[in-house]
Symmetry: C2
Subunit: 338 residues, 2 copies
DNA sequence: CGGTATCTTGATATCGATAACATTCGATGT
DNA sequence: ACATCGAATGTTATCGATATCAAGATACCG
């Protein structure tokens, strides 16, 4: 069946490829009238508009996007650059980028925009450069981000921690508050020897750390900090096992990641301790896995979907030349068993 | 700064928007020569080509994709329709769609194609309809898929199980073989009372089930089948706990998913059984989580990245009118502790 | 009934790149 | 020396939609 496809094109225009000119002929009006009738804000007599729209629907008319974009000198496209390979920093095991993408796609679809997906190496493709704006996911707001921005010269919005780098519009979760909410719970539970588990170099994690430490300080508590580069359950296990071996005294663990938290819980249970009675544990990201974990993990939830929606809106606003500011989404502690 | 953006456009073309005509003037040749010089297979004198290319690079010339696509009557775009919301069948906790997407994006980028990402509701957007082909992810090869195909009238490739529905080109993992490889290992380990844990209604899972059962049968073994709709660790835990309560005799568990497998392992360990000595467990998908689990999970690995690459290639081939067939990727058992 | 305001529609030019056909020029053969 | 061939480049037309400016139709006013 597909064999003749190529020829179909060259031979007969029909092929279902109706143009505005065709519609115009059918309706007995001019091209431009069809254009106006089909557009949202075109000024046409109600009767004409209805007739044209009916015809368009009947014949399955499809707008030629390239032609419109060429004429309007814009692409109606937002490029999303995602880091899709797993790495030390991003175990990929979480749904994070997908949920963000879902939010972005949904929001842009309602605005009649398209999502052009690329990985970093593909960012120099002409189609990307023609985008109306760029959204950056999973790059960590600094380094390469700036670089790409310079090269592309496009309005850009970044997901991450609104760090010192205020050159970009950044959307991200309130990691500081997330850290604080964990601290808050520990205080409420009367824990006095909390442990922080995670990489304090990473921008977003550093925020969680800062919020955590600060809140504890107001209660006169200084946590034990375990600066851990890896993000796996195994490393969480090891870290806590190490503490236990050294007979360090602690009664609470805040991990910057559900995986680490799960490893920590395992280590505690294997050592014969009770969770949460002896040691209470809080993770981060509120992954489905943490929720399905046994015992179900208490974790800080980030609203990724909404984050995606926000990224999309800001990208569009930026393109339109509106004033756009960075924004931080609230995170909230989801209390389960641990 | 962005305030004047709109006017910039209307006012001065400069704005970095160099066209072929501009380049032609600079190089002292005609537009078409520039076009040929910049294209891969244009016939131009080597000297001219180099001069033009140098100029293009120097001035940062960017091809206007809309114009090219309009003229060539194709979009150089493949639409990827993904189900991005979590569901009973797809816990989203696995990297599955992202890795596929990564493979697709990479392959299409090298072919100078763009990836247009949409969710199902966005599939009727003009930009999607203009795509050269469509790739469907996470829809389960039947139902809606056909529907969309009819509506869109586009070459289409689907990720999933090459079921009875041979109307489409389907790329997927060899789930039957995956199931068989689990059975094979159980046999090799001398286990005689294996359990199958998973939803046999779901197309892909049904394949795993079939392969598993069939291979066991050749060794005269009939597994216990637990037809389980949920895909969470908790439900895996419950299922195995139930078996233990009923004092069912079993020495091996094959779960169609790492989460279920992890739950199963937990149930076994909590019941005082040793894994893998008393009961050996095999999961599916080889997720980073399973690998980081304690004990590290033995699991069937699917090559998603390659799957993405294949989907992309087939989509392109289909568009070009070449003959394209469904294809099944081998899966392999990754043996770890369990 | 003339004249102006309003509404609706149309003719033309244009966005930027490329295919198809035309042309120029030097080289080669006899 | 002339005809012919082929490489290199140019001219023109075109893809489909829309902004701009102009014109026709209708209504309303005094």
């Amino acid at each position: 069946m597909p064999k003749s496809r190529r020829n179909d094109k060259a031979a007969a225009a029909p092929e279902g490829a109706l143009t505005m000119a065709d519609l115009a002929r059918l309706a007995g009006v001019s091209k431009i009238t069809v254009s106006r009738a089909l557009s949202e804000n075109g000024i046409v007599a109600a009767g004409t508009r209805d007739k044209v729209r009916a015809l368009a629907a009947e014949h399955g008319y499809k707008l030629n996007v390239s032609a419109r974009n060429l004429r309007l000198r814009q692409s109606h496209t937002i490029a999303v650059i995602v880091e899709m390979k797993p790495s030390v920093n991003r175990p990929m095991s979480d749904p994070y980028p997908l949920e963000l993408l879902g939010g972005i796609a949904q929001e842009l679809a309602t605005a009649n925009y398209s999502v052009l997906l690329t990985t970093r190496p593909g960012a120099l493709a002409p189609a990307v450069q023609a985008a109306d704006a760029v959204i950056l996911l999973g790059q960590g707001a600094r380094q390469q981000a700036v670089h790409l921005f310079d090269r592309l010269r496009l309005p850009m919005v970044v997901w991450g921690a609104p760090g010192a780098d205020e050159a970009h519009v950044v959307v991200g979760s309130d990691n500081r508050q997330g850290g604080a909410s964990a601290a808050e719970r520990f205080v409420a539970l009367g824990r006095h020897h909390p442990v922080f588990l995670g990489d304090t170099d990473h921008a977003e994690m550093a925020e969680r750390h800062a919020g955590f430490v600060k809140h504890l300080k107001t209660h006169g508590i200084a946590p034990i900090i375990i600066d851990h580069k890896a993000f796996t359950a195994e490393s969480g296990f090891e870290a806590v096992a190490g503490l236990l071996r050294k007979k360090t005294r602690f009664d609470a663990v805040f991990a910057i990641n559900d995986l680490l938290a799960m490893g920590a819980v395992r280590a505690l249970i294997e050592a014969g301790l009770r969770v949460p009675e002896d040691v209470t544990v809080i993770g981060y990201d509120d992954t489905p896995l943490g929720a399905a974990f046994i015992p179900p993990l208490t974790s800080v939830h980030q609203n990724w979907h909404e984050g995606g929606v926000l990224l999309a809106r800001k990208a569009l606003a930026l393109f339109r030349g509106e004033k756009v500011t960075s924004e931080t989404l609230p995170s909230r502690l989801v209390v389960r068993t641990t």
